[in-house]
């Protein structure tokens, strides 16, 4: 193609586009109420979808953090075989001496529900009985709220001492300002202190804890005997493997690695669920926007039949009239999508601030949402555009 001809064609195309945009602008601004109604539907839809996606992304980051906290700090081994003997203390000390291990020991659930009461006439609660070593409780980050520090649990053998979780103490009315006794499975014990657990082993708060050596003597083998280690993030797998070999070299205990599941795998599932929800929401919003535009533009075409008929009478081709309606839909959709995206981000920002989360916004979200909003608006304008293109100029002029 000769350069001059190409230039002329480019110039003509540019002028035609400018004319179309000018006509679109005039049509959209001529009836601001109708345009606002069309835009409002898309704005609200896009805003809610944007906010939902951003909040979902931010929540994903929160879940990520929590999984990391759960998974990477603990190793849990459960004995499925012989649990009549305590874990050999020398082996436990070896494990504790490992560089990535902060604390390690036994934290077993001896019984799922023992009857606990502070007197014969007081109410009875059925709560888990936990048999633990001081290092097991330290690994679980269980701390003493009041009374004798729980780290003394191994150093007072033969004494009928128990520690009570704070939630259970509240239920039973146990206070540490007076000497307190409790009947556990019909045996008397002295309540040595109250405990709280902050590391995710929340059931300790509503349980009775005694030395695992004492529990083994009084109640026989525990129901769920577990070895727990608090480790440096990233070392859980290696420590679990080492501890299993060290604590159960013959395989008699049948130790199973019950370390909390790998966050990355679970996070993958959750992420894919959230993405699916976001996609479904996006499609729904697109559909709503499409219907809103189709509705408003159909009404507009009916109201503007004389104007459109006049354009046809003056020589506008059907295609050009259709293009005008499509351009109106597309530009209204584009503006609405930009506005809606901004509003959605603002809403998500406010929500995340209220929750104390750090806002996470994917860089591709804005362009995707704006493109989606515009596209759905364009698709919604197709039928009205076809209707507009088929208006008979003669009938319009005679109406």
């Amino acid at each position: 193609m000769a350069p001059s001809l190409r230039r002329r064609r480019l110039h003509a195309a540019g002028a035609a586009t400018a004319a179309l945009l000018a006509d679109t602008y005039l049509s959209l601004t001529a009836r601001p109420l109708r345009t606002s109604a069309m835009v409002a539907g898309i704005v609200l839809g896009v805003a809610s979808a944007t906010a939902a996606v951003v909040v979902a992304d931010t929540q994903r980051a929160q879940i990520d953090k929590r999984f990391d906290a759960q998974r990477s700090h603990f190793v849990v081994l459960v004995a499925n075989g012989d649990s009549s003997h305590a874990f050999p203390s020398r082996r436990v000390s070896e494990i504790e001496a490992l560089e990535p291990v902060a604390a390690a020991g036994e934290l077993s659930i001896w019984n799922d529900g023992v009857a606990v009461a502070t007197s014969r006439f007081a109410r009875t609660a059925r709560v888990p009985l936990i048999g633990a070593t001081a290092s097991g409780l330290a690994a679980a980050e269980v701390r003493t709220v009041s009374g004798i520090p729980v780290r003394a649990i191994d150093r007072l053998p033969g004494r009928s001492l128990v520690w009570v979780g704070v939630a259970l103490a509240r239920r039973l009315g146990i206070r540490m300002d007076l000497p307190q006794t409790a009947s556990i499975a019909s045996r008397p014990y002295t309540v040595a202190g109250l405990l709280r657990d902050d590391a995710g082993f929340g059931y300790v708060d509503d349980a009775v804890v005694m030395a695992s050596a004492l529990a083994r003597v009084r109640y026989g083998p525990g129901k769920t005997v577990r070895f727990l280690a608090h480790v440096r993030p990233g070392a859980a797998g290696a420590v679990a493997e080492y501890a299993r070999a060290a604590l159960d070299p013959t395989g008699q205990r049948q130790l199973a690695d019950a370390t909390p599941p790998d966050g990355r795998i679970l996070l993958g599932h959750v992420t894919s669920d959230l993405r699916r929800i976001g996609l479904a929401l996006g499609l729904l919003v697109g559909l709503i926007g499409m219907v809103a535009v189709a509705n408003t533009q159909s009404m507009a075409v009916s109201q503007r039949s004389r104007e459109l008929g006049l354009r046809a009478a003056l020589g506008w081709s059907r295609r050009r009239i259709g293009r005008l309606i499509l351009a109106e839909s597309g530009i209204a959709g584009l503006l609405a999508a930009i506005l809606g995206c901004g509003l959605g981000l603002l809403g998500a920002f406010v929500w995340c601030r209220l929750q104390g989360w750090q806002l996470i916004v994917s860089p591709s979200l804005g362009p995707l949402v704006v493109a989606g909003g515009t596209l759905s608006s364009l698709v919604g304008g197709v039928l009205p555009a076809r209707r507009a293109a088929s208006i008979s100029p003669l009938e319009a002029m005679r109406s």
Binding site: A12, A313, G315, R318, L394, M397
Partner: protein
């Protein structure tokens, strides 16, 4: 009809004046017979070709001005410039010139809504002539105007033949017949005189 001539089509209501004007302007297709424009047979053309014919060669003035009230007078006139490749400054300039031609240069920037009936119809005439059509078709252009304003609009329309446009006017108005080079009467869809 030779270029620059004028024809008045008169007759009673329902005789077919508007139908004839529509066929000649390419708004309606003839069910029988033949219509040639510049030697080109118009019957049987595609809708795109007919739209192009209207865009390039025909200007319409209807009984109602059909203005877009929220737009200024010059922007209403600009609607008549169908050629989308014209630059916006050219469009504005030609629209203002057309308004000046019908004596409305002073209202070019005013919205159409408050204009009087006569002014609206003259804006419609400007919209019809802004593309400098070969054929100007007016269908009852004075039907909604008072006597004096109607006379002014008729004189304006007939004066435009001096620019080379051929004028066909379908009207009840006997003054149109008096001003036209030629007059035909239609009764029940057929030429009576």
């Amino acid at each position: 009809m030779p270029r620059g001539s004028s024809l008045a089509v008169v007759g009673p209501s329902g005789a077919g004046k508007s139908t004839l004007a529509s066929i000649l302007g390419g708004l309606q297709e003839a069910t029988e017979g033949s219509y040639r424009f510049d030697g080109q047979e118009m019957c049987g053309l595609s809708s795109l070709a007919v739209a192009r014919f209207r865009a390039d060669h025909v200007g319409f003035v209807f009984q109602n001005a059909h203005l877009m009230d929220e737009r200024s007078a010059w922007r209403n006139v600009a609607v008549g410039l169908v050629d989308a490749t014209l630059a916006r400054p050219d469009v504005e300039q030609r629209s203002r010139e057309a308004l000046a031609l019908v004596g409305l240069a002073s209202v070019a920037d005013r919205e159409a809504a408050p204009l009087s009936g006569g002014e609206r119809q003259r804006v419609a005439v400007a919209r019809a002539v802004v593309k400098r059509p070969q054929l100007l078709i007016a269908d009852e252009p004075t039907g909604s105007l008072d006597q004096k304003t109607g006379q002014a609009v008729l004189e304006l329309l007939f004066s435009l033949t001096a620019t080379g446009a051929t004028l066909i006017i379908a009207s009840h108005d006997t003054r149109a017949a008096a001003l036209a080079d030629r007059c035909v009467t239609i009764v029940d869809g057929a030429l009576a005189a």
